[in-house]
Amino acid sequence: MAEAAITIAPARRCAARLDGEALAGWGLAAPATALIFLLVLGPALGVLALSFTSWQFGAATLEWIGLANYAELARDPVFWKSLRNTLVYIGVVVPASVAGGLAVAMLVESDPSLRRFYRAAYFLPVASTLIAMAVVWQFLLHPSVGLVNRAWELLGGSPTDWLKNPRTALGTLCAIGIWQMLGLSMVLFLAGLKAVPGELYDAAAIDGADGAWERFRRVTWPLLGPTTLFVTVICAIRSFQVFDTVHVLTRGGPNKQTEVLMHTIYAEGFNFFRAGYAAAITVLFLAVLLALTWLQMRAAERRVHYG
């Protein structure tokens, strides 16, 4: 009799414990879960749904139009220009930031003198408020009193209105983008370089690879592979979402030369109030970002499991 009582009691206590744990688990996670649905997943689905309507901000009715928004997008020259500009921006800023960041990181890491200073100097643009610095850049790029034109004149060029000239506007924004992102790339590469085991350089030296080029090719570059992929995807994700400099410096002009996707979404949605249309662009925007973020998570995994 007594034995039976003993064997039953632990099982009951176990079940009670498990129930208690489930209750605690959901209790603690409930606010966050609710908010994820409310603020993240719900709106994401909402954008998808909106893209199939012709709704405008302030309109009373919602009309279902299927894929008409997307069809209009396919014919919209502004959208295609915007897409093209965004891709050009990424195509310039990402390689330059990645390569530049790697070069600077290797130079900084190669010798201990003044390391902290250089790291701080290159990272400062990343840490500062981009909008404020964009305003400063606007002043620097001023056609007559800007520092850039004064320096350009000293080098023999003729002063240009960098931000208003259709041929230089996008390039100028690219330059500012690189200025702002190179430090981030550098810091990520610094971490990656530190993770390369010193023993490998020793082994390579004994194997016969002891020149700077051979060391880079046989040890540094292969071991930085995952980091390089990671940094590239990070820079791509950030560049894809460029908005601040465009809105503050050029508003997408002159003549849509600097129109980028996020600015188009903003303009369509909040200047022209065409919520449905803006939602359609957002869906495409989101699709690309999902792909890039998925890539980033895979790249992050490889960093951890390499070797």
């Binding site: 489930a22 603690l28 966050a32 840490a127 989101l286 998570m297």
Partner: protein, 274 residues
């Protein structure tokens, strides 16, 4: 490293550093100059006349710059505090407790990680509009209270905390809720600091969202306030504008220089988030 190579390294790095720092230096120097020097023909680095007091005074009186900074502090502080309140318990539950649907919830978090704020902007704006919360502190704070990135990060960290610590706490009679605040929170301080810096800097520098939801200058955060200031100045009075940007940029720059390692750690977490 040979002297020649060392010199070359310095030459290359300094050249780059000059380009990186030039805007900051020029901004600072311009904020000290009188009007005549801005438009002078010759290029002068240092101010010939010290006009700093007037420039800064102008900046502070034309627009409520200090108010903008204060808004930034209030908004970012509120966001972080609420993020800790909402996300820490969820991260603990996902990391250490076993309950039905836990894995599903985590997959939801991972899904949420892939959705950027810009994609959800329009519906969120609509929601706030319906609730009459546009143009308020609530509009700036509420959408960011749940941070899937924060949950992900803290869960990662909590998984590394030994289970024995929790067994001991439970034996001491603590309930799960107490465990979160008395045991996990103190243990998580390093990760929380990094996340805190990341969150603070991210939201301090956020321009897109305040641009959408705020129209009164009173509520502007630093980036929005800077643009208000710039638009006011109509491009002629650069000195007060530069003085203004110095004031706006100073807090982050000072914070960065004071705690470089922590700062870099926090901001590069955004490398993980993207």
């Amino acid at each position: 490293m040979s002297r020649a190579l060392r010199l070359l390294r310095h030459a290359l790095l300094l050249a780059g550093a000059v380009v990186m720092l030039a805007p900051f230096v020029w901004m600072l120097l311009t904020s000290f100059k009188p009007p005549t020097e801005i438009f002078a023909r010759e290029l002068n680095w240092l101010p010939q006349q010290w006009h700093a007091w007037e420039n800064y005074r102008d900046a502070l009186t034309k627009v409520p710059l200090l108010r903008y900074l204060a808004n930034g502090l209030v908004v970012c502080g509120a966001i972080f505090a609420l993020q800790v309140l909402v996300n820490l318990p969820a991260a603990y539950a996902l990391a250490k407790l076993r309950f039905a649907g836990r894995d599903g919830l985590f997959r939801l978090v991972l899904l949420g990680l892939m959705i950027p704020h810009t994609a959800t902007a329009i519906p969120l704006y609509l929601m706030l509009h319906k609730l009459g919360l546009l143009d308020s502190y609530a509009a700036l704070v509420l959408p960011f209270v749940v941070s899937v990135f924060g949950i992900f990060l803290m869960r990662q960290f909590f998984r590394g905390v030994p289970d024995e610590l929790l067994h001991a706490a439970r034996l001491d009679g603590m309930g799960e809720f107490e465990i979160v605040w008395r045991v996990m929170l103190p243990a998580a301080v390093p990760a929380l600091t990094a996340f805190g810096i990341f969150s603070f800097v991210w939201h301090w520098n956020d321009y897109f969202w305040p641009l959408l939801v705020i129209s009164s200058p009173d509520l502007a955060t630093p980036p929005l306030g800077t643009v208000f200031f710039r638009n006011e100045e109509a491009g002629i009075h650069y000195r007060p504008l530069m003085a203004g940007t110095v004031i706006i940029t100073a807090p982050l720059v000072v914070a960065f220089l004071a705690a470089q390692n922590r700062f870099i750690e926090g901001v590069t977490l955004s490398g993980v988030k993207g």
